[in-house]
Each structure stands twice: as structure tokens, then as C-alpha cells.
Symmetry: C2
Subunit: 330 residues, 2 copies
């Protein structure tokens, strides 16, 4: 077992969707998280997403001793050196782009560097994990992917349908990400990904963020050893450069927010098949403060120091470096 210490790592979390405030940011700092893809839109349209970003500017300015908004891997490394948390703004949907490919560049200029193509249901861009049929990447979706490639915005395939995921992997000139999901061979769930999608992602240089959200982890009773063994098997299957962590932490929200995530405005709350509730998290990982336990688990599972360094953040930094530059200087 390696003598690698968690605090020596540049830890990057592939996705968190917290109700961000100073206390939550301090939780990330306590957990040794130096970089995070922070969701600032799920169902929001252009104006709402813009206001959410405006809120981030304010939050970052008011807490500049803890947080910095980052648009490059280098800024995440600098945040680590400064003992701060670097926040990369991200969308979990393409709803902020509405039907206007030009808004990709607009939001890129506002600092957004990651966008998931769909969130749970079919949208203008493609199909999603909870719909019965998946349209594949649409004609508009191809332009969105092209534009994301051009300006340097990472395509995220979490919550995306498998057919659309395959199409997007093929269509993208740049490697793509699944920021927060697990393989279906670990836990069968619509949000998790079949081996062939993960393989195609890795073949094109992409990264999968192994996810700690209870619903895709197999519940609160899934052990750290089970999670760590899944990571180790993925490293064996697709190589150490394509596996990372995407915790999907959901700190500081009331119950309304889980209902918003499930229903958005696309169905009335009364039509929700089950009353939306936050799941219970495993005892060994309850939030961003517990990131040291993840490092420890990976080391216990026998991963070497170099691999743990990659999985805990190095792979996200590599991918961000490759993608955020874009194919054309905007």
C-alpha cells in the first residue's frame, strides 16, 4: 500500500449540484477538493441560467478567500496551491441554449465549461436515460456538439440516453465525459452506463466519473470496498487515464429541490410516480468532507499512487486541458 496522502493530491470532483454557499464551499475545502464542476442549471432556460451565473459571480466575489471561478486546469492547480476551491461552472442540460446554437458561445464567455446534453428526458439535442425511446443526437444536437468543440466546452453524457451518447462520442472532435455515473455491470440502473458506451468513451480519450449518489451506487449500504473494487475493475478494463470521480453531492437543499430535479416544469408534481425524496448516503461518504475516505478506499483496493492521483483528479485535469482550449480560438 502506497504512502500517498490525500492532501498531496489535486482532487477534482466531476460533478456536484449543491445549494452553494460559504458553508458548502468550506466543506469542499475541508475534504481537500481543489476543483469541482458545479451545476448551475438543470431545467433553466437562457435567462434563468444567466441569472444563476450572475449569482455565482457574486458568491465568488464575496468568498474569494475560499473559492475562485476557474476556466482552465491551470486555475484548478493554482487553487490547490492557494488552498481554495476552483469552481468550473457547468450545466446538466442544454436547456440554457434553447434553440440557439449561438448561446453556446455566449455561455462559454460567461464561464461555463461543461454541458450535459440532456437531463433525464428527450430535449432538442437528444434522448435521455429515462425516456423509453432515444432519438439519438438530433440535427440541432450536432450543431451544439460542433459549437461546444469549437469554443472549448466539455460534452457531458451523464443522464443522456445510450444511443445519443454513442452518437455524441462519434460526433465530437474532442474527447467527452460522463461526469457522474457508474457501469451497469456494477449496478443496473437507467442512469448507469453499459460497457459499450464506456468503452467507446474511453477509446476517444474520454473520462468517466464514478458516482457516489446513492441511487446509482446501489444504495446507502454499498460499501467503500465495493465502490473501490468497481473503480479498480474499470481501471483494468479501460485504463488508468479514463476513470475519475464525480460524486454528485447534493448538499444544503430542501426537499423541494429534489422535486424540481425530477419534475422541472415538464410534468405536474401530481404526475410524479413516487414522492421525490433525497436518498440516504452511505456512512462512509456523506458529502464533500469525506473525500479523504475515497482516496483511502482506492489505495486499500490496491491501486498504485500514480493511478490514484489520476482517478482523484489528474484525469479531469488532463481532459479539461484537452477540451477547454477548443478547436478554434473563439
Amino acid at each position: 500500500m502506497s504512502s500517498l496522502a490525500h492532501e498531496d493530491l489535486v482532487v477534482v470532483d466531476g460533478l456536484e449540484i449543491n445549494n452553494w454557499d460559504r458553508k458548502v464551499l468550506e466543506e469542499l475545502r475541508t475534504g481537500g477538493v481543489s476543483g469541482v464542476n458545479a451545476t448551475c442549471a438543470v431545467w433553466e432556460g437562457p435567462d434563468e441560467a444567466t441569472r444563476a451565473i450572475a449569482g455565482w459571480y457574486r458568491l465568488a466575489r464575496d468568498n474569494e478567500d475560499v473559492v475562485v471561478l476557474a476556466e482552465t486546469a491551470g486555475q484548478i492547480r493554482a487553487a490547490k496551491a492557494a488552498g481554495k476551491v476552483a469552481v468550473v461552472l457547468g450545466f446538466q442540460n442544454t436547456s440554457p441554449f434553447a434553440d440557439d446554437y449561438r448561446l453556446v458561445e455566449v455561455f462559454h464567455r460567461l464561464g461555463v465549461r461543461v454541458a450535459q446534453l440532456t437531463y433525464n428526458i428527450q430535449n432538442l439535442v437528444g434522448g435521455a436515460c429515462y425516456d423509453a425511446h432515444d432519438s439519438g443526437l438530433t440535427a440541432f444536437g450536432r450543431h451544439i456538439v460542433d459549437e461546444m468543440n469549437r469554443v472549448g466546452m466539455l460534452v457531458d453524457l451523464s443522464h443522456v440516453g445510450n444511443r445519443t451518447s454513442r452518437d455524441a462520442i462519434d460526433a465530437s472532435e474532442r474527447p467527452v465525459a460522463i461526469t457522474h455515473a457508474n457501469p451497469t455491470w456494477f449496478f443496473e440502473h437507467p442512469r448507469n452506463k453499459p460497457a459499450e458506451v464506456i468503452r467507446a468513451l474511453a477509446d476517444r480519450g474520454g473520462v468517466l466519473g464514478c458516482c457516489l449518489y446513492p441511487n446509482v451506487l446501489g444504495g446507502e449500504l454499498t460499501t467503500r470496498d465495493q465502490f473501490s473494487s468497481m473503480v479498480a475493475r474499470l481501471v483494468d478494463e479501460i485504463g488508468p487515464d479514463h476513470v475519475a470521480i464525480g460524486s454528485d453531492c447534493t448538499r444544503n437543499w430542501s426537499q423541494d429541490f429534489v422535486a424540481w430535479l425530477r419534475n422541472g416544469r415538464w410534468r405536474p408534481p401530481s404526475a410524479n410516480p413516487v414522492e421525490p425524496e433525497w436518498p440516504a448516503w452511505p456512512r462512509w461518504f456523506g458529502g464533500p468532507e469525506d473525500f479523504p475516505a475515497v482516496t483511502e478506499g482506492l489505495l486499500s483496493a490496491g491501486l498504485d499512487a500514480a493511478t490514484v492521483t489520476k482517478v482523484m483528479g489528474g484525469n479531469w485535469l488532463r481532459l479539461f486541458t484537452e477540451v477547454f482550449g477548443g478547436t478554434e480560438a473563439p
Copy 2:
């Protein structure tokens, strides 16, 4: 009379509100205009203004041999050297900020560097030139001015009421502009500015862009000598560092657009007191191609080369340098 040549000047136009396309951009280049504050919103709200800016990104990318989007005086000088037109994006209203001071920073990030506080009628920020009463700069307006100072966005007082103008001059930590208006002593008109406003503006380091729009120039029959003498008198009164040009060119529009400028969505077209029509321009200045005639006129009026250099662009460059840096790095 000086041997100064128009083509040696870095010509900057304080405001044009053209229907921008390649042909219009070429007209500016033909006229030797290296920098221009280009209006991209008059009545637009946040979303519409964002789409207009998205259109500018596309237009600039498709015509990069003619135009560059600029956010600094240095980029205007570089455009001059490269034989291009540098466009500084500007608003003629604060409607894109809606009731949200945070949108100042958002639009600043999108490239907007100039915003006129009001357009013709009272808004959330202050009073305007065509309303019977002027609220003065409102409580919200003070925050907008503060935020513009902080991020580095130029306050424009054209079309603004006189009381609000005085308030804004006092409230702003940075010098402000009247990008396109004339003194009322030259032509009495609600859009033109009384001597005390112009004096206060200059005392705080601001710049007045003398305007060629027929309605504020006194009509198409106003001669180049009359215009040039007005500029010369202004230089005598407030000094050579505070006088510039803001042509208010309105190229390439159909008649609908003048109705849009007059009525926006605040009154039905039927309530318009007179049928809106574009005015006829003077024979000596019909559009951006005629900028050499302005230089010639100023030289004929006896202004020295140093003063003409300032009036034709140097003063805008100085003001942009002072203001666009902001009081706090955003």
C-alpha cells in the same frame, strides 16, 4: 491650416446604430473609422440583448478580415494598424439589465463596454430627455452606476434627462460620456445638452461626442462650417480633451426601425404623435464613408493638428482607457 491627413488619424466614432452587415462595416473602413461604439440594444431586455450580442459574435467571425470586437483602446489602435474596424459593443438603454444589477457584470463579460442610462423615457435607472419630469438617478440607478464603475463600463448620458445626467456625473467615480448629442446653444432640442451639463461632464474628465444626426444637428441644411465652428467653440469652452464625434449613423435600416426606436413596446404605434420617418442627412455627411469630410471641416475651422487628432478619436481612446479598466478587476 495643418497638413494632417485623415488616414493618419485613429478615428473613433462615439456611436453608430446601423443595421450591421459586411457592407456597412466596409463603409466604416472606407471612411477611415477604426473604432466605433456600436449599439446592440435600445429597448431589448436581457434575453434579446444576449441574442443580439450572439449575432455580433457570428458577424465578427464571418467578417474577420474587416471587423474585430474590441474591449480596450489598445484593440482599436491595433485595428487601425491592421486596416480593420474595431467594434465596441454598446447599449443605448439599461433595459438589458432589467431590475438586476448583477447583469452589468454579465454583459460586461459578454463584451459590452458602454451603456446609456435611459433611452428617451423614464426607466428604472433614471429620467430621460423626452419625459416631462425627470426622477433623477434612482436608488437602483446608483447601484447600476456603481456596478458599471466597478466592472469598467462607460456611462453614456445621451438621451438621458438633465437632472439624471447631473446626478450620474456626480455619482460616477469614473468619467462619463455623452456619446452623441450637441449643445442646446447650437440647436435647441430635447436631445441636446445645456451648457451646465456639458461643463460638469468635462470637469469630471468626460467626453462629449458631437452629433451628426440631422434631428439634433438642426436639419440637413446645417453646413459643415456651422458644425465645425460648434466643435471649435466647444474646444474653447471645455478644452480639447473633452470634445469628440458621435455621428449616430443609422445605415441600412428600413422604416420599421425608426418606428421601433420611437415606440419600442411602450406605446402603440397609433399613439405616435407623428409618423416616424428617417430624416434626410446633410449633403456633406451622409454616412460613415464621409468621415474624411469631418476631419477636413475641423481643419478648415482652424483647429490645430493635435486638437483634431483628439477630437477625431484620441479623446475616446483616452476615456476608454480610463474607464474600461474599472475600479475593481472583475
